[in-house]
Subunit: 439 residues, 2 copies
C-alpha cells in the first residue's frame, strides 16, 4: 500500500508544525512520498513565504538590492532548522537564489523557491531523499501542463525509490525554466505524484478537519463531511466551497485514487474521504451546501414562445455574442429566465437587451440583480423522498423568498436562487433542517 | 354596458336548451349580441351536427346522393323549431345547401352550415336580427384571419345595431368563399365580436360551471376557479387544461375585455372570470394545476461545462437542427437536462445523440422517457411563502419521486417533472394540500 501525503503551508509554517508532520508520516509506514508546500502563516498577521518571495522578486525587477529581503526569508527557514536541531545549511541555495533573482530568472522561479527550500528541509528532517519537482513535473513550451511526459518522468524516477520528498507547486519547461501551477498548486503536485506512482491513497493534510458541510463563516462549527464523491465535491467547489485546488481532482479521479483531507493539528480526526463512488450511506441526506452571491436574472416573456423552435438557442446566442456565460435557464410557459454573473452582465446590459429585442422580439424583459445561488448537494437526496419539501419548507419558515428553483434529473443537487440579503439566512435554514436537527 | 354572449353546442343542442339560452339572454338586457355554435350532442352517444355535416359532405365528394343524409340534419333543426313552436322553415336553406354540397363548395362551407342554421333559428326565437358571419368576419386570400378588415366590418355593421345573432366558427375570404376557424372556433368569433363592438364583457356559456382547478378525470368534482388572469389561463391551457379555444384569448385580451365562463345548465353559478389582472385575493394559493404526459429527458454531463461559453447554445442548436422544440432545460453544475416531447424525439433519438457528441463532446448522455410535466400555477404563490415547500412535502408524502423542478423568477408557476405513472398521484397530492385541505 502506497500513500502520497501532501502538507499545506500552515502544516509546515514552523518547527513545531514540522514535528507534527514528521509524527504523522512516521505513524504510518505507507506514507513514503511527501509533497510539501512553502511555509505558511505562523499566526494570523504573519506573511507566507511565497508572498515574501514575490515581494522580494518585485524589488529585483525594480533594480533594488534584495539581499536584506532574502535574509528575512532565509531567517524563516533558519528558525525551522534550528527548531528541528538539524545540521543543515541553506547558504548555497540562497546564494544561487540571489544570483537568479538579480538575473531576473522569472516570477515563477521566484515563487517556486518556497516549496523547493521547504522540501530540502523536510527531506533532511525525515531522512528521505529529495527530488526536485523540476526534474519530474513537465510543462510544454507554451506553459501548458504536459501530463504524458510527466507521467513517464514521475513513474520512472519515483517508481524505483522507496521514499521521497517532492516539493509542490512547480515543475519545469523543456528548457529547464521553472513554471508553477496557479496558487495552491501543491495540491496538484500531490495528485500528479499519486497518479504517477499508482498510489492507493492521496492524503492531503491541511489545517481543517476535512471538507465542511457549510461555510464556517456562515455556520458556526459546521459538521465535517465524512465521505464525498468527486462529483459532489466538484459541485460544491463550483459554488464556492474550496479546500482543494480544482485541478487536483482530475489526475487522481481518472485513476480511481481516493483523496483523504486530513488535519495536521488533529491527526486523529478521520477527515473527509473524496471518492469516485461509494455505497456508504451518507450521515445526512445532504452532503453539503454552498453558494455564491452576485447574480442577475434576465426574464424574457413572449406569448407562444414554446412553439418557436430556436427561441432558447437565439436567446443564448445573444449572451454568447456578448461573451457572457449563463449559469441557469429556468423556463415556465411563455417565459424564460437566464441567470448570469452580475459583474459580467452589468457593463453589457444594454447591448444584451438590444440584442434580445432584435433576436426574439419579446413581449417584455425584466431584470433583477443582487441575487445569490445556493447549491444543495447530496447523493443521499436520490434515495430520500421529500428533500425538496424540507428545503422549501425550511426556507419559508425562515421567511426567505425563493426566486428560482432548478433541479435537473440527476437528483444530486437542487439549485436555489434567493436575494443576496437572504443568502446567509437561507444557508442557515437548510443547514439546520438537515444537520442541526439530526445531531 | 354591452355584453357579447356565446353559447356552445351543448347549450343549443335541443329546444329545451334553446329555452334556457333565451331565459339567460332575457334575464340581462345587456346581453344583446349573441354568438351560437352548431347543435351539439343531446346525449352521450349523439352526433354533433358539425360532424354530420362533415360526413354528409364526404358523401358528396364521393359522388353519392346526399339527400337522405341532409334530411337527417334538417330533422335536427326541425325538432328544435317544433319544440320552440316557431313558425320558421329552413326549406330554402337546405335546398341551397344541397346544391352547394353537390357542387362541392368546400369542406369549410359544409362545416359552417351548422352555426349558420342555428343562428337563423336562434335569431327567430329571440326576435333579434340575424347577421351572417360571412359578411363581417374576413380571411385573406391565403386563409389567414384578417383582423383589421374584420374589425372595421364588425364595428361598422354591429355598431349601428341594437342586437344581433352572429353565427360562430366561420367567416369568408374576399371572394366570398367560406372559411372556418379551427374546431371550437365559435369562441374566437365571440371574442372578435366583443372586440369589434367594444363590449364590456364576453360571456362564454358552456356546459361546465367554469374553469376547474384540476382535470375532473383525475380529481372528482374539482373546485371552480373564480378569477383567473389571462396569463394563468395561458399557462394552464398550455399544459393541457382547455375550456376556451386558444385563439379566443388574444382579441379580447388586447382590449382588456374580461371573459366570463358560465354554465347554461346552472345559470346562477358565477363561473370563472378571466381578466388581464386583478387585485382580488385568490381563494386558494394556487389557481390551477395542469399537466401532460409523454416527455423524455436528455441529460448531458461534462466536467467544467459552465466555463464553456456557448455550451448551452450548442446543445439547443442540435435539437433545433433536428426540428425538436424543447420544453425545459434545468441545469446543475457540469450537467444540463433538456426536456422534449417524447413523440418528437423518439424517431430522431440517435441523430440527436450523435449531434450532441459532435457539438459538445460530453462526458456522458443519459436518456429517460415516460416522464410527465405538471404546472402548478397561481398568482397567489407570489405572496405566499412556502408554496414550494408544501408542494414537495405533499409529493414526498404521496411517494412521488420528483425528477425535475423548474421555477423561474416569475413566481407564477412551478413546473415539476415526474414519471408518467406518478402523474395522477402527483396531481391529487397537490390538489389535496392546497384545495381539499382548505375546504
Amino acid at each position: 500500500m502506497k500513500k502520497v501525503v501532501k502538507f499545506g503551508g500552515s502544516s509546515l509554517a514552523s518547527a513545531e508544525q514540522f514535528k507534527k508532520v514528521a509524527d504523522i508520516i512516521r505513524q504510518d509506514e505507507n506514507r513514503r512520498f511527501v509533497v510539501p508546500s512553502a511555509p505558511g502563516k505562523r499566526f494570523k498577521t504573519d506573511t507566507k513565504v511565497t508572498d515574501m518571495l514575490y515581494q522580494c522578486y518585485a524589488l529585483a525587477e525594480e533594480g533594488q538590492n534584495i539581499h536584506k529581503a532574502l535574509q528575512e526569508i532565509a531567517e524563516r527557514y533558519e528558525e525551522i532548522i534550528r527548531g528541528l536541531s538539524l545540521k543543515l545549511s541553506l547558504k548555497e541555495e540562497f546564494e544561487e537564489i540571489e544570483k537568479k533573482f538579480t538575473g531576473l530568472a522569472g516570477k515563477d522561479y521566484a515563487a517556486s523557491r518556497g516549496e523547493y527550500l521547504n522540501g530540502i528541509v523536510l527531506a533532511a528532517y525525515l531522512g528521505f531523499p529529495f527530488v526536485d519537482a523540476a526534474e519530474i513535473i513537465r510543462f510544454d513550451e507554451d506553459g501548458n501542463f504536459d501530463g504524458n511526459t510527466t507521467q513517464d518522468l514521475v513513474s520512472g524516477k519515483l517508481g524505483t525509490m522507496d521514499a521521497a520528498v517532492v516539493p509542490g507547486f512547480y515543475g519545469a519547461k523543456p528548457d529547464g525554466s521553472i513554471q508553477t501551477f496557479s496558487r495552491g498548486g501543491s495540491d496538484v503536485t500531490g495528485s500528479i505524484v499519486a497518479k504517477g506512482i499508482h498510489a492507493d491513497l492521496y492524503e492531503n493534510w491541511t489545517d481543517v478537519s476535512g471538507f465542511l458541510v457549510a461555510d464556517p463563516r456562515i455556520i458556526k462549527n459546521p459538521e465535517v463531511i465524512e465521505t464525498i464523491t468527486y462529483r459532489e465535491l466538484r459541485e460544491l467547489a463550483y459554488m464556492g466551497a474550496t479546500v482543494l485546488h480544482e485541478d487536483a481532482i482530475f489526475p487522481v479521479r481518472r485513476e480511481g485514487i481516493p483523496i483523504n483531507i486530513r488535519n495536521t493539528n488533529d491527526p486523529e480526526a478521520p477527515g473527509t474521504l473524496i471518492v469516485e463512488n461509494t455505497c456508504r450511506t451518507p450521515k445526512y441526506t445532504i452532503t453539503g451546501i454552498a453558494g455564491k452571491k452576485g447574480f442577475a436574472s434576465i426574464s424574457i416573456d413572449k406569448a407562444m414562445m414554446n412553439a418557436e423552435i430556436g427561441f432558447g438557442r437565439k436567446v443564448l446566442q445573444v449572451f454568447e455574442d456578448n461573451g457572457i456565460s449563463f449559469e441557469h435557464m429556468p423556463s415556465g410557459i411563455d417565459t424564460m429566465t437566464v441567470f448570469v454573473h452580475q459583474s459580467e452582465f452589468e457593463e453589457k446590459e444594454q447591448r444584451v437587451l438590444a440584442g434580445l429585442h432584435r433576436a426574439v422580439d419579446p413581449d417584455s424583459i425584466d431584470l433583477e440583480s443582487d441575487l445569490a445561488l445556493i447549491a444543495v448537494v447530496g447523493r443521499g437526496m436520490r434515495a430520500t423522498r421529500g428533500t425538496a419539501g424540507r428545503i422549501f419548507s425550511a426556507l419559508a419558515h425562515a421567511h426567505v423568498n425563493v426566486k428560482m428553483i432548478d433541479q435537473g434529473s440527476s437528483e444530486l443537487n437542487i439549485i436555489i436562487g434567493v436575494r443576496n440579503h437572504d443568502f446567509e439566512l437561507a444557508i442557515k435554514a437548510i443547514y439546520d433542517i438537515f444537520v442541526s436537527a439530526q445531531l
